[in-house]
């Protein structure tokens, strides 16, 4: 077969790169990020156990990213450590507790966001909950049990505010429709659950509002400088591999360079994913 003309070569290379980026994105979002999330959950669970045992677990406002509660929904087989904060980066390690609401188990409305497709999709099955299902949340103040009231979608009536001294937990995620529903979560869905038993008193000191990045389907443009650095690293890595390929045996180069490139690509994808809606 004759060598391709230069234009076609460039075109096909470009197409190959596009295909690689698309494949990598899908692979990262649906598969690799899930592995990272499982690993993060493992660490967070240990951290939370230690904090609860040592009575250092937060009762009120905490640094974003700190584990605050263990959420389990037996009917879904779901067991996740909830972290403080609902920015896209917080939700990469597990469901996130919205910082301007009370913690689960406390009097008032507690809101927990969870991803529906990427990073392990912890809340993918949450919209299938039915009224009466149980939700257990363990925090530093003990275990609280909630009963699901129902699933709320666009146009459904809002529930009444909880009476003083009672608590409600609202799980928020997104869902899609059509044949690709599982990977196209484009609108928010809410699941309300009422606290069974006595509510703890919230300590106060919560922020009055959260930035847009921490609202439902919020994106965090603050990651852009980090992303730029990651992309620079990726470019540098690729250049180093290209140069090394000319001087060293290719097998050595790939053995050395592939892990580095994969790690850089992973880092870049994690940063880029913060530009995507936090419930994805």
């Amino acid at each position: 077969m004759a060598p391709l003309p230069e234009g076609a070569l460039v075109m096909s290379l470009a197409l190959a790169v596009v295909a690689a980026i698309g494949l990598w994105t899908v692979l990262h979002l649906l598969l690799l990020s899930g592995l990272a999330q499982a690993r993060a959950q493992h660490d967070l669970q240990a951290e939370l156990r230690e904090a609860i045992a040592g009575e250092t677990a937060p009762l009120g406002a905490a640094e974003p990213g700190t584990p605050v509660a263990l959420l389990s929904i037996p009917t879904l087989g779901l067991r996740q450590v909830v972290v403080e904060g609902t920015a896209p980066s917080d939700l990469q390690s597990g469901p996130g507790h919205r910082r301007d609401t009370v913690l689960p188990g406390q009097a008032g409305v507690a809101i927990v966001y969870g991803r529906a497709a990427a990073y392990g999709a912890p809340f993918a099955a949450v919209p299938t909950l039915r009224a009466g299902d149980g939700i257990a949340v363990a925090t530093a103040q003990g275990e609280a049990v909630y009963r699901v009231d129902g699933v709320r979608r666009d146009g459904d009536p809002l529930p009444d505010p909880p009476a003083p001294g009672t608590g409600r937990l609202t799980l928020v995620t997104a869902e899609g429709s059509g044949p690709l529903a599982a990977v196209t979560p484009d609108r928010t869905v809410y699941v309300d659950a009422t606290l069974v038993g006595e509510a703890a008193t919230p300590p106060g000191g919560r922020p009055a509002a959260v930035p847009d990045a921490e609202r439902a389907l919020g994106t965090d443009a603050g990651v852009l400088p980090v992303l730029a650095l990651c992309l620079q690293g990726l470019v540098l890595g690729a250049a180093a591999v290209t140069i090394a390929l000319r001087r060293l045996p290719s097998r050595t180069v790939w053995a050395l360079g592939l892990p580095v490139l994969a790690a850089l690509a992973w880092l870049t994808s994690d940063a880029a994913a913060q530009l995507l809606p936090n419930l994805l």
Binding site: M1, L15, D154
Partner: protein, 756 residues
């Protein structure tokens, strides 16, 4: 205060009636002065003019410090060296302050007290007239003076005509050294016989005119008279003067409630309302992204104004007219005047006029003003916080092509350019940013210790519009460039510059129309159309504000009325703003819902009757009535009041049929009001009008019926949507499949083309 032959104006406790009991009678001892120097004299015997006063008693003419009851703490000078005279101050509580030094004065006149002096000595022009503005203070501001609704007070005006001399003493017979009609700017020494310092001397005091003053209920009347827990409403300062008068009409009636208006930024107020932590918010602009549906009931038509105080040169009195264009306001807000010669070192401002009054554009519109430049003349005192007022002001600038072009970087016809820090700043904004970072390079210890942006110190915006109104009233600019230190060993810091002297005042401030009327501030006319000499300038007046309402649009039932400032007619006042009561339409506790709807209904009825009484509408507000240009607002407000009380989501679109929600009373035109209301039906959870009116005549709720009719008396869930989240994965999948299919296809296609 140091003038010759001035007219002294004082506020004194008591009435000027010889028949009144002694403790309610006016005397020099109950007259307020801010410094002890106006009550205590210690001069050499040759200058002690009061000792030669023919009208005084022998005791007054005697050497006072020799008498037995001379206060111990006032023994400052040996009695034989000076002639001394003391006029103690008697406070409302009966306490006597000797007032001979800073330690023996009432707390309100201590050094660095909160309020500047209110007493003044005005000078008389060559035509024999004079004009001053006097601030009357109640017991809220000045407890020692203690004027209130129960304690009568008087305004005392004393023309100083010289002390009538009992003998041929030279000092007493002095006739002054300043030419008639002039003002003592330099504060140099004056002839004591004709100075205001001895206003208390018998021959001056006997010439007084007194004007009895009566006071309204104090602002804390509700707290004193009504033990109930207050219903908190937050929001716009535009409504402060109205709610001040309205509050007693609510709290003093058992069938109403105790309302409290807490001034707060509109954004924060709406957030409190949305979260259920406040009953209602007073706002002009809608909430950005409310989690629950809110209803907006118009309750007041008022607005902002640019208040000014400007003395004409050569003691010609005060300017009573000032005309401003949007571009002049833009120049002031963007800190484009360098404020002083040293400010001209600011890059980009080298060729700009130093201050507003030196700007040819201003001079052309306002001839005859003083041309002296001064830092305070380069700025307009404005708000540092988020405010719908700032949004309205900047929208007015953005709607003007000249102002917008100036901000974008086009020089004005005289070559003045915008401050580069503000070039291209986004308009309109709800919070004016402080962008300038220029620090003056001056070899002064205090400047080198405090590296702060110079023009920011000149602008020095404050947090409340009331503070601005008081600054303009006192002609005390908030320019923070005065080097001060508490003691000679403390480090220097920047503080507020001193008050401007009478005759040399010039400052501008952004105030509410309510405050401008309350404090009697002069407000500038704003340009609405045309340029140059043919331009139209409009002052704030009920007619021009009503004309602005023609540009008010409502997006749907329950939504606020927004003024499109680019569509204002030339006779409309551009500072007009509509203030709404915003409240949740679902999920509110029934008691709060009842109170808010009652508030709106009462505010729309007795609250729109102009007058100074409890519950009436103060000046600065256009009565919002059911007929005329305010008819759509009135009808919409009543509809929202019903919707708030029903707590079942947004109000239904209005039906112009007779059975509609709000039959307009009086000569209102039903067609006119509904034309606006039906423009865009919202209809989320809207109920038929008949079902939405369970209210009775008393404004009391039909407590159980609506709850039974609608199982969940609440708003509706609004789902967030994101196309990114929905399309990302399929798009990426599509891309990769296209790429994977494309590469072999391209190769085979190109290979076939290149083989033959």
């Amino acid at each position: 205060m140091n003038q010759e032959y001035p007219v002294v104006v004082l506020q004194c406790r008591g009435v000027d009636d010889p028949a009144a009991p002694a403790d309610r009678r006016l005397s020099p001892e109950t007259c307020w002065t801010t410094t002890y120097l106006e009550r205590y004299a210690a001069v050499s015997p040759a200058l002690a003019v009061w000792r030669h006063d023919r009208a005084a008693t022998d005791a007054d003419r005697a050497d006072q410090d020799a008498v037995a009851d001379w206060p111990q703490e006032c023994l400052r000078f040996p009695a034989d060296l000076f002639s001394q005279r003391l006029l103690p101050f008697r406070s409302a509580k009966g306490q006597v302050y000797a007032s001979c030094n800073d330690a023996t004065v009432p707390p309100e006149s201590a050094v660095d007290a909160a309020l500047p002096a209110s007493e003044l000595a005005g000078f008389t022009g060559l035509d024999g007239t004079g004009d001053v503005r006097f601030e009357v203070r109640s017991s809220t501001e000045n407890e020692s003076l203690g004027c209130s609704s129960e304690v009568a007070c008087s305004l005392v005006v004393i023309p100083i005509m010289g002390i009538s001399c009992a003998d041929a003493d030279a000092a007493c017979r002095g006739t002054g050294s300043f030419p008639p009609g002039s003002s003592n700017f330099g504060n140099v020494g004056v002839d004591p016989a004709v100075s205001p310092l001895y206003w208390w001397s018998a021959s001056n005091w006997q010439h007084r005119f007194t004007v009895p003053l009566t006071f309204a209920l104090p602002p804390d009347a509700c707290d004193v008279l009504d033990p109930r827990a207050p219903v908190d409403m937050y929001g716009s300062e535009l409504l402060s003067q109205a709610t001040l008068q309205w509050a007693p009409a609510y709290c003093l009636r058992q069938d109403r409630f105790k309302m409290r208006h807490n001034r707060q930024t509109e954004e924060a107020s709406l957030r409190l309302v949305a979260r259920g932590e406040a009953a209602a918010a007073f706002v002009s602009d809608p909430a950005h992204d409310p989690p629950v549906p809110l209803g907006y009931a118009p309750v007041a038509v008022t607005g902002f104004a640019v208040a000014y105080v400007a003395d004409l040169p050569d003691n010609a009195g005060e300017a009573d007219r000032m005309r401003l264009t949007p571009r002049l306001l833009a120049k002031l807000l963007t800190q484009s005047y360098p404020a002083s010669i040293s400010g001209r070192a600011h890059p980009g401002l080298e060729r700009n006029p130093v201050s507003l009054n030196a700007d040819p554009e201003f001079v052309e519109l306002n001839p005859g003003m003083s041309l002296t430049t001064e830092e305070a003349r380069a700025t307009v005192l404005s708000l540092s916080e988020q405010a719908d007022t700032i949004h309205a002001l900047t929208a007015y600038l953005a709607a003007d092509p000249e102002a917008a072009a100036f901000v974008a970087g086009t020089p004005d016809p005289w070559g003045m350019v915008v401050n580069p820090s503000y070039r291209g700043v986004t308009l309109p904004v709800a919070e004016w940013p402080m962008l300038d970072t220029f620090v003056r390079d001056i070899n002064r210890e205090c400047e080198s210790l405090n590296k702060v942006p110079y023009l920011g110190q000149v602008a020095a915006p404050v947090t409340t519009m009331r503070a601005i109104a008081e600054a303009v009233l006192d002609a005390w600019p908030n320019v923070q460039t005065q080097c001060t230190r508490a003691t000679p060993t403390d480090p220097w810091k920047f503080g507020r510059i001193p008050r401007q002297g009478y005759g040399a005042r010039f400052m501008l401030g952004l105030v509410t129309l309510g405050d401008a009327e309350r404090y009697g501030l002069r407000t500038a006319e704003l340009r609405t159309a045309g340029t140059g000499a043919s331009a139209t300038f409009v002052a704030a007046a009920p007619g021009s504000m009503a004309a602005a309402l023609a540009a008010a649009r409502q997006a749907g039932p329950g939504e606020p009325f927004l003024l499109d400032r680019s569509a204002l007619s030339p006779d409309a006042y551009p500072g007009t703003m509509v203030v709404h009561t915003a409240a949740r339409l679902s999920g509110m506790p029934p008691a709060d819902a009842r109170h808010v709807s009652q508030f709106v209904r009462v505010a729309l009825e007795e609250g729109q009757v102009p007058g100074p009484g409890n519950g009436q509408l103060p000046a600065g507000y256009v009565p919002l009535v059911a007929s005329g240009p305010t008819a759509p607002l009135h009808a919409a407000a009543l509809a929202v009041a019903d919707a708030v009380e029903a707590q079942r989501g947004a109000p239904a679109p209005q039906v112009p049929a007779p059975g509609g929600l709000v039959p307009p009373s009086g000569p209102g035109l039903p067609g006119e009001s509904s034309a606006v209301l039906t423009s865009a039906p919202l209809g989320v959870g809207g109920l038929p009008p008949e079902a939405a009116v369970p209210a009775t005549e008393q404004g009391l709720p039909a407590d159980t019926a609506p709850a039974a009719a609608a199982p969940d008396a609440d708003g509706t869930t609004v789902a967030g949507r994101s196309t990114t989240a929905g399309r990302l994965v399929p798009a990426m999948l599509g891309l990769s499949i296209a790429g994977m299919l494309g590469v072999p296809a391209l190769r085979s296609f190109a290979g076939r083309r290149s083989t033959p």
